[in-house]
């Protein structure tokens, strides 16, 4: 049976992991490749790099990181952040990324999703949706790192990106992100049930049961977390053991 996936996420700027980690024996807590290797060794099912580099002249640095990662880490790698054109998608895939995630650009130019999916295959194209609750049972899509409200319904947008050719959705609850209060399970479930492509739940994980809840209550196909793994609170393996105890199929 297909396993539910656990995906650690690293925020990278100008080639360095932003927050660092508390792994005890890392040579360099800011090196994304070293951290990705660590997660691979712990049994992570994939790794995601979110490139939050602000200045455009430093943006190509991520390509070197991806190249180095592809030489040493033999699990799937998703890279997002700053993807605006099909040329960006191609550069990242050629460097060794397996999937490319797009967010603002997909909203501004839905054709980018369709065009890149047609060119490189929908399995490579992830659309990231940042959603915030606006009323009971309604969530709206935000862009530009959560600064701009589009007014679009997140569930409708999820259906739309599937139709355009996205192969997967990375769904982040802005209400929960950084709170450690757990995923927005109602949002996750509403989106996961609305589409036929896999949905990754993100935003709000504070403990291992939150990860399991994302799958069992939220119907997510994969769960993404950053801080609970970075700061050594839990290992990926512990997370999988808890999910297995909760009756969820995992790769252990």
């Amino acid at each position: 049976m297909l396993a539910k996936r656990i995906i650690p996420c690293l925020d990278v700027t100008a080639g360095r992991v932003v927050k660092g980690t508390n792994f005890v024996d890392l040579r360099d807590a800011g090196d994304p490749v070293e951290i990705a290797r660590r997660y691979d060794a712990q049994g992570a099912d994939e790794v995601t790099f979110l490139d939050i580099t602000a200045s455009s002249d430093q943006r190509d640095i991520i390509l070197h990181i991806v190249e180095a990662c592809a030489e040493q880490v033999f699990i799937p790698l998703t890279v997002g952040g700053g993807v605006r054109a099909i040329a960006d998608v191609r550069r990242l895939l050629n460097a060794g990324a397996d999937k490319v995630s797009m967010n603002t650009a997909a909203v501004q130019n839905p054709d980018l999703v369709a065009e890149s999916s047609a060119k490189v295959g929908n399995q490579c194209i992830v659309v990231a949706i940042d959603a915030k609750q606006s009323a009971p049972g309604r969530w709206e899509v935000f862009t530009h790192g959560g600064r701009n409200c589009t007014g679009m319904c997140a569930i409708e947008w999820a259906r739309k990106v599937q139709q355009l050719g996205a192969g997967e959705i990375l769904l982040t609850s802005m209400d929960r992100d950084g709170t450690k209060a757990g995923f927005d399970l109602a949002l996750t479930r509403a989106v996961a049930d609305a589409v036929d492509i896999p949905v990754i739940a993100s935003g709000g994980v504070g403990n291992l049961d939150h990860l399991a809840d994302g799958v069992s209550e939220g119907h997510a196909d994969a769960v993404l977390a950053a801080s609970i793994f970075h700061f050594g609170e839990y290992t990926v393996r512990q997370a999988k053991e808890r999910m297995r105890e909760r009756g969820i199929e995992v790769r252990l």
Partner: protein, 214 residues
Amino acid sequence: MAAGAIAVVDYGMGNLRSVAKALEHVANGKPVVVTADPAVVAAAERVVVPGQGAMPDCMRELNERGLRQAVIDAAASKPFLGICIGQQMLFEHSEEGNVSGLGILRGQVKRFPADKMHLPDGQKLKVPHMGWNEVKQAGPHPLWNGIADGARFYFVHSYYVAPEDVACVAGTTEYGIPFTSACARDNIFAVQCHPEKSAQAGLQLLSNFIDWKP
């Protein structure tokens, strides 16, 4: 070209870098070359054909780049590993774009049937089939050496192969339906999963391929 080279056939489709790097990782210094040159494919000791994206695009690119015959010759003569679309194209025909394959193995490439994409409890199964799933080995094969029966590999695909000849089924996987996830015949081994992205089990399979003497 150096003796013992492993050629990764580059016909412009997909992430060849990952495949080449994973092979290099286990090649014990044997040269791994990513090549679009039929002569290099012909001279290689063993050949890997990866593939991503859509089967019609893969077939078109293979033909337009003049690599079709080189792949057919390699599959007839030396250790040959097909990965993902590189497995699907060995068959006669694909439902994806209603396109012909190379016809080296008899059978069809089919899409996961929408009416079977759920678990017994009703839970919906998503397509593409994306993630780590178990490969049940049909029997011993040198490429399964050191890999547990039922080990998990990373998959991402919406179509699967349905061989006519059950003797070429080397592994099966369950996703709504049981499907053939690995094929073997003589010097050919082919998998639907991505060994280059399947952590230890995948590296072991690639290492076994490099040592394989069919």
